[in-house]
């Protein structure tokens, strides 16, 4: 299983965070868990990348933070997508689809 894990390509973490938050507001730990779960543990999110990314996104105004109570009854910092973040997510998703399609085409060349 460890063999199948791959590091995230640069810049894609932001996209995954935004996508995760598009479903519902989440705290940092849940975001990393969610990404791992959905990708069937192929994608590993390092804390060392996750939190700087969250702070960066917050600074850009794409997500905003508020303190809430977690599933185990503790104070946790929740992040939610802003309107600007939703737009950004759409734009980035489109760009990513294009890119991956293009790469797939090249790789599929006979």
């Amino acid at each position: 299983m460890a063999d199948e894990r791959i590091d995230l390509p640069q810049g894609t973490l932001d996209l995954l965070i935004l996508k995760t938050l598009a479903l519902e507001p989440q705290h940092g730990w849940a975001i990393s868990e969610r990404i791992e779960q959905i990708s069937s543990s192929v994608l590993q999110v390092q804390q060392g990348s996750l939190y700087p990314a969250l702070h960066r996104l917050e600074r850009r105004g794409w997500i905003k933070a508020h303190w809430g109570v977690s599933e185990n009854n503790r104070r946790a910092k929740y992040y939610a997508l802003t309107r600007a973040g939703r737009k950004q997510l759409e734009a980035d998703t489109g760009a990513w689809r294009k890119l991956s399609t293009a790469i797939a085409q090249v790789l599929d060349m006979a």
Binding site: H27, G28, W29, E33, Q46, Q47, G48, Y51, P52, A53, L54, H55, R56, E58, R59, R60, G61, K64, A65, H66, W67, S70, N72, R74, R75, A76, K77, A84, K87
Partner: protein, 918 residues
């Protein structure tokens, strides 16, 4: 604890993109702001957030079956370095402006400390530039910019009369004219008048002559000043008989009356009359200039000659009504002057001149100050160019360090900011040292500056000057730092890490820029050298001007006899005669004389001039004007003046003898260009027919004088001023006009000032209450008359020398650097058989090429800028080819020297060692 939710931002009328940009910038800003001011809160939140994550992770591991200790260990492992993570979060927030600035500052300080040589040279260059700029700005600020110390001073206006058709472009006003202007104008709140006067103050310890002013009472309220002690006189004091009241200066009060408050109401003896002291003015009151120690009211007995329209001796000051302009006031007063000119024969041709008070005070010194301000600007530019050049050289040395930092992920803006921090720190350091320099300059100014510079005592390093210096330091730091910082951070990591930094494009560009900077430095310094050269030439020319007399071994002094004791003309004439006889009898004195107007002294007295038998002008306004002096027979021989034609006065030209006059060459040239003036009859009065109209009753016929001699022109107003037309008459024949105020001159065998005591005793023997004032050697007066020019010349010369030194340091630095960079090449050349001489020629050749370009550019700049100097020059053309050539040659010589030294050092390099090194 929760961060503030962003307020909804509604920006209508903007494109969505602009909106998004706006919101982005706003959130970014708010984020940073919060981070800045709520730093602890933000840190706490970060801690809490990460702790929550950690604990959640531990719980997960525990749930999956690990025991707690192992779960914690695993979670830690997964977490990695906590501090590093926090750092990265902080970085992501981009909030650490203050923190990183402090970090930059520490880093910059370390960098500067490690390169002491560079730091010292750069900081000194900036200190020089900043020092002279701060010093000079403090002068410009105090003299030209800061308002005068009177409330609402911007509405104070100086007013003069003029009689253009008589050849008098500007003069004081007569008392009746002043009253008319004051009464009839519609543009002034009020007007006041004042004039200069010398008082002799007699206290128990003997007489002393002091300078003072007489004021009309209204002047105090126009200036809106208050006394330190007591009161100021009011208009009732202008009535004759109630006028004997005096206001003392704080200085006089402390010096002569021990600062005793009981001085108010005390009686003092002024000009042999009793005056009551009613007030003391604070030392800060210096109107219109420093030096006045006493003020009394302007008052005349009815029928006094001074109060007539023919004596123009008053300066007028007015306070404009709010909202009115100078030109409106001028139009208003001109109407009154035209009326007077039409209605009153003595005021025919009267015109008015108006200038803002501040302008009138600083008018003479403004051009010189602006010139010097420009010069220090140049010095600062050169200093900046120098430091920029040094920074560029340093950038090459630091290439490796910067490359490593880039490779480690430092962004370019971050590096630029760091390098700029270093520049600003350097500029700050330089500014701080420069302030020391400026402080010394300001402290020494009263000693160095020529006497009589207006407002010079107000110069100080006040908050405005300090703000100027701070702003300038920031500007300077950016000016010399921005480009090198930008340039040296354009780094190709791959190339540089391979170690081929020497051949990068950046390196080549840097070299070109440094050369350009050196060329600019050379050209700017050449401009300053030419400027100071022109001033020096002017002074040399002035030194060659023949004053018309021998200024050496000449003692001069002023005596003002008080009206109360010397009212009759023959008493004055007797005193003058006894004084010069007494002086001449002193051992070591070969001749002594008296005059009402001493060259470079003062005592101007203009009079109408007519010649018997010449056509009579239609009105008084067309009658020519000459300068009138009363002298004793030995005056010219004491002065060492030259008689051109005829004879001098003798003791035989007494009151009952035929009246005689001596004219100077200026009069002869103007009125007898082709004839012999000797024997001609002249009058220092209007022609008879006009005079008869003026004085229908008392007219007793015109007092004709016979011209008996012509003397060479004496430069009255200074060596740089053309000689005025002068008419001399004997004291003994001056009649009612015999002046109670005059100068004595004595030609001495040795140092004139050694006779001072003996001369004072001669005067005291004649009248023990009579003081002697303004005792100076004539050479001293001559030096004083040139002092301002000399001061300007010295300062400009100093600035030019600084500029030259900085430019040469710049050139030297560049050549030394180039040579060190080409060490390898030099080694090869030497190994291939080049002689040390060849290498030297190479270095000097390159230095001279750069200098030549700078000199050529500088010559063009100097030629176009030199016109601005015209007002400061004397008989020197702004474009003087020999001077320009000389300065160019001098600069080239210095440039050769500055590049010879590094070349010489390079040529001594052992080729084997160099080649071995690489």
């Amino acid at each position: 604890m929760v961060g503030p939710a962003l307020p909804p931002v509604v920006v209508s009328g903007l494109s969505p993109v602009a909106c998004a940009m706006g919101i982005y910038m706003l959130t970014d800003f708010l984020y940073r702001l919060r981070a800045l001011f709520r730093r602890n809160a933000v840190e706490d939140e970060l801690d809490a957030e990460l702790r929550f994550h950690f604990e959640r992770q531990v719980e997960k591991y525990v749930a999956s079956g690990l025991d707690r200790a192992e779960a914690v260990r695993q979670a830690r492992l997964k977490f990695g370095g906590l501090e590093q993570l926090k750092d990265e979060c902080r970085e992501a927030r981009g909030l650490s402006l203050l923190e990183t600035s402090a970090q930059d500052l520490r880093y910059a300080w370390r960098g500067l400390r490690h390169n002491l040589g560079f730091t010292t040279v750069a900081a000194l260059a900036i200190a020089l530039g900043m020092g002279v700029n701060t010093g000079l700005f403090s002068v410009v600020h105090a003299v030209l910019l800061r308002p005068l110390p009177y409330p609402g001073s911007e509405r104070l206006v100086s007013i003069w009369s003029s009689f253009v058709a008589n050849g008098v472009p500007q003069c004081g006003s007569s008392l009746p004219d002043y009253h008319a202007l004051r009464r009839e104008n519609h543009t002034f709140v009020d007007m006041g008048a004042y004039h200069w006067m010398v008082f002799s103050l007699t206290e128990s310890d003997g007489p002393e002559q002091i300078e003072g002013r007489r004021f009309t009472a209204g002047l105090w309220s126009i200036l809106r000043v208050q006394p330190l002690l007591g009161a100021l006189f009011t208009s009732s004091a202008e009535e004759w008989g109630r006028h004997r009241v005096a206001v003392l200066s704080e200085h006089l009060w402390r010096r002569r009356f021990g600062g005793d408050r009981a001085v108010i109401g005390r009686t003092i003896k002024l000009n042999q009359e009793s005056y009551t002291v009613i007030g003391v003015m604070p030392a800060s009151f210096q109107f219109p200039s420093a030096g006045a120690e006493i003020w009394t009211p302007i008052s005349y007995p009815p029928g006094d000659d001074m109060a007539t329209r023919s004596n123009h001796f008053l300066d007028i000051l007015g306070r404009l009504k709010p909202g009115l302009t100078l030109s409106q006031a001028k139009a208003d007063l001109s109407v009154i002057a035209r009326q007077l000119s039409r209605q009153v024969p003595e005021s025919a041709g009267l015109g008015v001149l108006l200038t803002g008070l501040q302008d009138s005070i600083v008018r003479d010194i403004r051009p010189a100050l602006m010139l010097l301000l420009g010069a220090v600007g140049f010095v600062l530019l050169i200093a900046c160019a120098n430091v920029a050049s040094l920074l560029l050289a340093r950038a090459t040395v630091r290439q490796k360090e910067l490359t490593v930092r880039v490779a480690l992920g430092a962004s370019r803006p971050r590096l630029v900011r760091q390098l700029l921090t270093e520049s600003l720190l350097l500029a700050g350091l330089g500014a701080f040292l420069g302030l020391g320099l400026a402080y010394a300059f300001v402290a020494l100014l009263p000693v160095l500056a020529p006497a009589g510079l207006p407002r010079i005592q107000e110069v100080s390093l006040d908050p405005v000057v300090l703000s100027f210096t701070t702003a300038l330091a920031i500007l300077v730091g950016l000016a010399f730092g921005l480009w090198p910082a930008w340039q040296s951070t354009s780094i190709d990591v791959n190339e540089n890490l391979k170690g081929s930094a020497r051949s990068t494009t950046a390196g080549r560009t840097r070299g070109r820029v440094r050369k350009t900077l050196v060329v600019a430095e050379v050209s700017l310094s050449l401009v300053l050298l030419v400027g100071s050269g022109l001033l020096i030439l002017s002074l040399v020319r002035l030194g060659q001007v023949d004053p018309g007399f021998h200024p050496d071994h000449l003692l001069t002094m002023q005596v003002s006899l008080p009206d109360a004791r010397y009212h009759q003309p023959d008493r004055i004439a007797a005193f003058v005669n006894q004084a010069v006889t007494g002086l001449a009898a002193l051992p070591g004195v070969s001749a002594a004389g008296a005059t009402t107007a001493l060259p470079l002294g003062g005592g101007e007295w203009g009079k109408f001039f007519s010649i018997e038998g010449r056509a009579v002008p239609a009105s008084l306004s067309q009658v020519p004007n000459v300068n009138y002096r009363e002298i004793t027979p030995a005056y010219f021989s004491a002065m060492g003046a030259t008689l051109r034609r005829g004879r001098l006065f003798t003791a035989g030209d007494g009151p009952r003898q035929p009246r005689v006059a001596i004219i100077n060459e200026a009069v002869a040239r103007r009125f007898w260009p082709n004839d012999d003036p000797l024997g001609q009859h002249i009058c220092v009065c209007p022609p008879e027919s006009l005079l008869r109209q003026l004085m229908p009753k008392g007219f007793t016929g015109i007092p004709w004088l016979t011209v008996v001699g012509v003397v060479r022109d004496l430069r009255q107003d200074g060596l740089d001023q053309p000689a005025n037309p002068e008419v001399f008459v004997p004291f003994t024949q001056a009649g009612d006009e015999t002046s109670p105020s005059f100068y004595l001159v004595a030609r001495t065998a040795t140092d004139p000032l050694r006779y001072a005591q003996a001369v004072r005793e001669v005067i005291r023997a004649l009248d023990r209450d009579q003081p002697v004032a303004d005792m100076q050697s004539m050479e001293n007066r001559l030096a004083d008359s040139l002092a301002r020019r000399r001061f300007t010349m010295l300062l400009l010369g100093l600035f030019a020398a600084m500029a030259l030194a900085l430019a040469l340091v710049g050139l030297y630095g560049l050549m030394a650097y180039t040579m060190s960079q080409r060490r390898h090449e030099m080694g090869i050349r030497a190994a291939l058989g080049a002689q040390p001489g060849d290498l030297l020629r190479l270095a000097v050749g390159q230095g001279l090429r750069l200098a030549a370009i700078g000199v050529a550019l500088g010559l063009v700049m100097a030629a176009s800028l030199a016109r601005l100097l015209t007002s400061q020059l004397f008989e020197v053309k702004p474009i003087t080819p020999t001077l320009y050539a000389g300065v160019a040659l001098l600069l080239m010589l210095f440039a050769a020297l500055a590049s010879w030294v590094p070349g010489w050092r390079a040529s001594r390099v052992d080729p084997a060692a160099t080649l071995h090194q690489s």
